[in-house]
Assembly symmetry: C2
Homo-oligomer: 277 residues x 2
């Protein structure tokens, strides 16, 4: 089937976070019949974990992923320990919200460091420790490879291959990948690596578009259809592997969508999901 | 040896192109005892090919690479043919300047296209045609993998692996790689792929730094030492493979270096090359 199942659309709350608080976003999703949501920790903290869980249940919204854990590398052991403790709390929160997975943005170089291989080793070690906590509690961890332009400041895992290599090392029980097309569409090994991952590792699928030109490294993502990513082709490729999860829309857009009427943004998300997702 | 040979420093003329014309840049290199240069085609056209060659000989400057050929993909066969004809001229000019190689920025998606695999096939085909022209004339072609953030608009070859794969297909006679750290420092397979390339394919080595944060996708490159790239480590890795060519500094910097006194820029290039190169 060419057209995606509209019930598979999920809204990452970053998409309208400048206009609405989390309560408004949840109610907006319900009003627009968007069945999935992916909230951020700071928004959940502001609304309260219990109240968030209550509203999600009330509106029968599924959490396609919880944003986010990770940020493992740090300059000191004390900071790494603090990061890990914070990640344990993120797992607890994800469990309370019945999230499909905890999404991990793994972190970049510690301040002042040029040791990328060392940062990657710290990600391995941090992930290994977090798995000991998450596995017995049954919360899957989803490594999100980020675009190489974020290698220094956000995530030093920058390809599906790296994520698969990490999972080979750490074991795939409760550990998988959040495939975000914004971060991976350029990768000549995309199709090879999602086949290598296989259904078991495909924990989340994020969509938006790459604008050409892109004005800002962080906050100029495009609505589906406005850029150059063959979103439909990639979506069909993951579904051909058996993926049946949500298609989560995550658009950071200081230059455009964050200044629009959020009801309009949600309507357009739904329309573009059908046209291009 | 830790410290690089100062005679290996080469200046890509983009580094001071906002302040000086090509004649001034050539004379500046001579004045600062910089022995290598990599001029751009538009600058050579403005100064004249013969006059450029005369000045380079007069000042005993070596051309570490000629910028640039490539840009193969296009929406129509007529445009592809025009691009190829222009690439033939670039080969002729590179020969007239006794360049070590013609650097290729291979091009991105044709206007309106989302077919990245198709663009990559067009690069393969264009390169194959250009090799028929360049090989008998003895001008090596250097594929420059560009950072994935340029996959849409500048180059759909975004990793050393892709470049090596292309060379495996097309043959390594007169075909190699321009390794630019700005584009490749994030790549977890960097060391594996330069070993796979081997000395024969290492035609050029470009340095600058990745600033954290980076303000602009194109024109916010850093001077060596101001960013997060372990330039010395990478330089030693290519030299361990036997590379004895230039270390070419190429800094696009609308936000900083393009507004400084160009004599100061060249002095700092020399100093930072010794400190961090």
């Amino acid at each position: 089937m060419q057209i995606p199942d509209p019930q598979k659309l999920s809204l990452n709350t970053a998409t309208v976070r400048q206009q609405w608080d989390l309560r408004q976003i949840i109610e907006g999703c319900a009003r627009h019949d968007i069945r999935g949501i992916s909230p951020w920790r700071d928004q959940v903290a502001a609304l309260g974990l219990k109240e968030t869980a209550r509203l999600l249940t009330l509106h029968q919204l599924s959490v396609s992923g919880y944003c986010r854990g990770g940020m493992f590398p740090a300059a000191t052991a004390a900071q790494r320990h603090a990061n890990l403790t914070d990640n344990y709390r993120a797992v607890d929160e994800a469990l309370a919200l019945n999230a499909a997975c905890l999404v991990l943005v793994v972190g970049g170089l510690p301040s002042g460091s040029r040791d990328l291989a060392g940062a990657r080793q710290q990600v391995h070690d941090g992930l290994n420790a977090l798995l000991e906590y998450a596995r017995p509690r049954g919360m899957p961890l989803a490594i999100e490879p980020l675009h190489p332009m974020y290698a220094a400041d956000r995530a030093c895992i920058n390809s599906l291959k790296q994520a698969n290599d990490l999972i080979d090392l750490l074991g795939e029980e409760g550990l998988g990948i959040a495939v975000d097309l914004y971060h991976t569409w350029w990768d000549a090994d995309f199709h090879h690596e999602i086949r290598r991952a296989g259904l078991k590792r495909l924990l989340a699928f994020h969509i938006c578009d790459w604008l050409n030109p892109t004005q800002d490294l962080l906050e100029d993502r495009g609505m589906m259809g406005d850029g150059v990513i063959d979103i439909r082709g990639f979506r069909q490729a993951v579904e051909a592997l058996g993926y049946q999860g949500f298609h989560e829309v995550e658009i950071f857009s200081r230059l455009n969508w964050w200044s629009k009427d959020p009801d309009e943004v949600l309507s357009i998300c739904k329309l573009r999901h059908q046209q291009h997702g």
